[in-house]
Symmetry: C3
């Protein structure tokens, strides 16, 4: 944790640099100061088959899911969600100029009792940070 996954319709591949969008989200997560850099994992999953809204071929979506460990306050979670959503919206503003795009974000907490983690990146990034 934190885990950020975007599912997107494949027709966006030619309109959006998805790797760059991952970087945008990464930077916002880091800038909140609520998450350690070594733990940030943003990724995207391309969906080749889909059926969106009124089925026009231009219809497209990005659906973002942010899974975090417990421990942040409600207002920290809200401000994090808002910051990510605003940054993504700004980055892909051209899509919102069309009547064919929809964006969503959901934050969900991970149950510490039923989760496990091992991170070999932390020792390196903590060293750099010290």
């Amino acid at each position: 944790m934190p885990h950020f996954t975007m599912e997107y319709s494949a027709n966006l591949s030619e309109l959006v640099d998805i790797g760059e969008l991952c970087n945008v989200v990464h930077d916002v997560i880091l800038a909140t100061g609520l998450f350690e850099i070594g733990a940030i994992r943003v990724r995207a999953i391309r969906c080749d088959a889909y059926a969106i809204a009124d089925l026009l071929s231009q219809n497209a979506f990005i659906d973002m899911s942010f899974r975090i460990g417990k421990g942040r306050t409600p207002s920290e979670k809200t401000s994090t969600g808002e910051a990510i959503f605003e940054a993504v919206t700004r980055h892909i503003a051209s899509l919102f100029a069309t009547p064919h795009f929809a964006l969503t974000l959901e934050i969900r907490e991970i149950d510490a009792e039923l989760s496990w983690k091992r991170n070999a990146i932390h020792p390196r990034t903590r060293q750099i940070g010290s």
Copy 2:
């Protein structure tokens, strides 16, 4: 919302038209009358690596996840799940004729407090509807 995601084993690619299956699900969701057309996002994710049941190469699965906003009654949620499951089962009846296929569906509600959305499709589809 509503978000409908199917994960499926890649060996189904030659047996099922996954895009058509997305359309089948889309139409059932719309026919319930509980969801606005402009918000429906059905998609499929192909899983190239898998290990299913007793590991026969013909073993295959589709696992469907339906995430919806809060506000529907328990019976509305139940009838929606049943309608989708029945339609998909009917559409891929040939798979159930083999001893190698399993289908699942889970409905999960999205927490309104921790979700964000922006939809540029609604203004267009609402205009058509009026």
Copy 3:
């Protein structure tokens, strides 16, 4: 159910045999004795776009999600998670020898009231088992 999904960064494709890793997880799930063989569905989703930790190109992750039906005790769930996590850690020990890899696992229960399933594999595997 049970459904086991791994999301992984695409740069692992050349370092790990993901299909073999699915088999490793499959065998641990089966060995717990808590799940019927005909219901086990392990799969992996490759993420081609990502932004991990300090963005070094070698940074990589596997994030595992295990969705199970209700009915197991807390200690059964804990021991299952531990067994899977240990087996995967052992199988990909070489990755942990680098300062570029992170592994996570989350177990989540599926609500029986809002889920549906149909399994054509069970009759065959139950027959073999009897």
